[in-house]
């Protein structure tokens, strides 16, 4: 497996330098994956000899990539190797409807530790914030850092957040999180500045800075998963609107007499093309079905799952056409769980968008898949935390 990875990553397999480079990448990868490791463990994890590991670690420490601290393992002296972090760390947390991702990164957005776990449906704020706090503490320990090295915490939640109060702008969208200031609660636990925003906004920020929307000035990030949301990048910055609730793409009315939506209206896009709607349309004694199963079956060629995703895509395309008519973005980046279906989703979106949009076809936004995948929102949370701290590191929470 070792030789294999060399030949994949390097154009000239076999040469001394390429081998050394591949080994270096291997070690940095292993450290990233485990957070922190001793040199002996690194040798085990990479399959390299302890001497090679020691040499490369020394080299990478000198060039400022890695950082070593003396420690002990099973009573023996050892070198604990972590990624170097110059200016402090930021933490990013992404709570989605069914998943939580937590990462620590330095201010240059190099992730030094990351964890993710599935969450219960209708999770509750206090419980999940506790979990996130404990995970952050755990991860800090694994990279040999203290809580006060954290500059800021960025949190992404799947609902619009009122910037003034820090509460979810509209109750009922996240039942366990209503009527509380998330930033306040998290600040009380972690005693560091906390900044909270809608996951779609942060996903948009990440794709705009580092992903598929780079180089555009007006773009839209569509997040299609359990819910449907959008982050709007207008003139190079995230547009939040009054009470920060812009971009509620999933609650555009598609069919006035359509099915009831969780927001209380009828015929919202989300009620027709959101994750639960897709799963319901396939619920015919097929045992368990999650949104990821639908995507996997569709990619494997199950015609019913392909059709269900295409139907969702068609509806999303109509809503996207309306937004295009209004904002004329250069690019629409599609992210979220369902975007993993690739062209199975993008094709139908493109098709129905082109039919309903007013611009000529060469001026219409191109529709592409997100580059950051399921980590877009987490990356956005980290970016947001860095952005907000650079204004003034000792500011109280927003």
């Amino acid at each position: 497996m070792y030789l294999e990875s060399v030949s994949i990553t390097r154009a000239t397999p076999g040469s001394q330098t390429s081998l050394r480079e591949a080994n270096r990448a291997r070690i940095v990868d292993a450290v990233k994956r485990h957070g922190g490791l001793t040199q002996v463990e690194l040798a085990g994890a990479t399959g390299l000899s302890p001497a090679t590991v020691s040499n490369i670690v020394k080299e990478l420490t000198a060039s400022g990539v890695l950082h070593t601290t003396p420690s002990t393992r099973s009573g023996r002296r050892a070198q604990h190797v972590t990624l170097a972090r110059a200016l402090g760390i930021v933490a990013g947390v992404h709570f989605s409807t069914r998943h939580m991702r937590v990462a620590l990164a330095d201010v240059t957005n190099t992730v030094v530790a990351e964890h993710n776990m599935p969450l219960a449906k209708d999770h509750r704020a206090d419980n999940e914030l506790d979990k996130a706090t404990r995970l952050i503490a755990d991860m800090l320990e694994s990279v040999d850092a203290r809580m006060d090295e954290i500059l800021a915490v960025g949190i992404a939640v799947p609902a619009p957040v009122d910037a003034a109060s820090g509460e979810i702008s509209r109750s009922g969208l996240m039942r366990g999180w209503d009527g509380i200031s998330i930033a306040d609660l998290m600040h009380r636990r972690i005693k560091r500045p906390v900044f909270v925003d809608n996951e779609a906004n942060l996903g948009a920020l990440a794709e705009f800075r580092l992903g598929a929307a780079r180089g555009t000035t007006n773009s839209i990030y569509l997040r299609v998963g359990q819910g449907i949301g959008a982050g709007l990048i207008i003139n190079g910055s995230v547009f939040r609107g009054y009470s920060s609730s812009a971009g509620e793409f999933g609650h555009m009315t598609i069919d006035e007499g359509g099915p009831l939506c969780r927001c209380g209206n009828r015929g919202c896009l989300e009620a027709i093309a959101g994750g639960p709607a897709i799963i319901d349309s396939l619920r015919e004694g097929n045992g368990p079905m999650k949104l990821t199963d639908v995507v996997v079956h569709a990619i494997a060629g199950d015609p019913l799952c392909i059709r269900a995703i295409a139907d969702a895509g068609r509806h999303i395309g109509i809503a996207a056409a309306n937004v295009c008519n209004l904002l004329a973005p250069e690019r629409i980046v599609v992210g979220g769980e369902l975007a993993r279906a690739g062209e199975l989703l993008l094709g139908p979106i493109r098709h129905s968008l082109e039919r309903s949009v007013v611009m000529s076809t060469d001026k219409v936004a191109d529709i592409v898949q997100g580059q950051l995948g399921e980590r877009a929102e987490l990356t956005g949370a980290l970016l947001y935390a860095v952005d907000r701290t650079s204004i003034g590191a000792d500011d109280p929470i927003a």
């Binding site: 085990g44 099973s74 776990m117 999770h123 979990k131 404990r134 598609i254 359509g258 019913l304």
Partner: protein
């Protein structure tokens, strides 16, 4: 603007359960531990088995693991009626059980633990093959084990659980039973184990998860089977049920004098109306 599809999808290919238990009874002397238990496990599905202390969860698991034979009832595995007289028989069928105490040898390294009793090599051990198979398996499970040559004693709780689950996969099972895999673990380790359960599900295995932690159950399970005092007390699709409903079924709040009387009256009414 209306574009709601009116084509309703045809029926899916119905998947048969890989494991079915029907009318299982088990008593220990004067104690009736299980009464008429039914249970289905489908491939690629996580079924959570929940219940109060003494509800019969462990007894049910031990029947599947071949520790106790049932007094009556049938177990069907891959459409064939089977009996599970011993743990070896259970393993041969393709049922892997990871017990709460993990049953790992602390003094042996990860490779030896994974292949304990199933070592590769005819006359001398093929350590290289076993080590590479170990790495392959652990990588498939996205396991965070720094080295496979360190004693299991020096691993964290979550890593030990991972090793125990990985060991259960060596025999290529079709059903994996996990008894309280997240009890006594920290958040980070719990996260690892829950992700691991999702991996098992993606591999198309049927997973039976016994847990007291409803947050974990709701996070990974597709269905939730509630036992109460040795009887079935409800089967829920996790996506459609609230935390409170499961708790009610576990504690018996749904099954009390008032509800029983109401059910009896309505049944009587139906009979008289016939």
């Amino acid at each position: 603007m209306t574009l709601v599809s009116d084509v309703s999808p045809d029926k899916h290919v119905v998947v048969d359960p890989v494991l079915t238990m029907r009318g299982i009874n088990k008593g220990f002397g004067a104690v009736q531990a299980l009464t008429d238990i039914d249970l289905d496990i489908y491939p690629g599905e996580v079924v959570a088995l929940v219940g109060d202390n003494g509800a019969g969860k462990s007894t049910l698991v031990k029947i599947l693991a071949g520790v106790h034979p049932p007094d009556s009832g049938t177990v069907t595995f891959n459409d064939k009626k089977v009996s599970i007289p011993s743990p070896a028989a259970s393993r041969e069928l393709g049922i892997a059980t990871v017990f709460q105490d993990l049953a790992l040898c602390d003094n042996l390294d990860v490779v030896s633990n994974l292949f304990l009793g199933r070592e590769i090599g005819a006359f001398s051990l093929d350590e290289v093959e076993m080590e590479s198979r170990s790495w392959e398996l652990l990588r498939q499970l996205s396991a965070k084990i720094p080295s496979v040559r360190i004693a299991v004693a020096s691993l964290s709780g979550g890593q030990r659980q991972t090793v125990a689950i990985a060991r259960s996969l060596i025999g290529e099972p079709t059903v994996v039973i996990l008894d309280e895999p997240t009890a006594a673990l920290g958040v980070a380790q719990t996260a690892e184990v829950l992700n691991l359960i999702e991996r098992l599900r993606e591999r198309g295995l049927g997973v039976l998860l016994i847990s007291h932690n409803l947050a974990d159950v709701q996070a990974v399970a597709d269905r939730c089977v509630v036992l109460r005092l040795g009887r079935n007390n409800g089967v829920f699709r996790v996506a459609e049920v609230s935390y409170e409903e499961i708790i009610a079924a576990i504690t018996g709040a749904t099954d009390n004098v008032v509800t029983r009387r109401a059910a009896a009256t309505s049944a009587n009414n139906e009979e008289t109306s016939k």
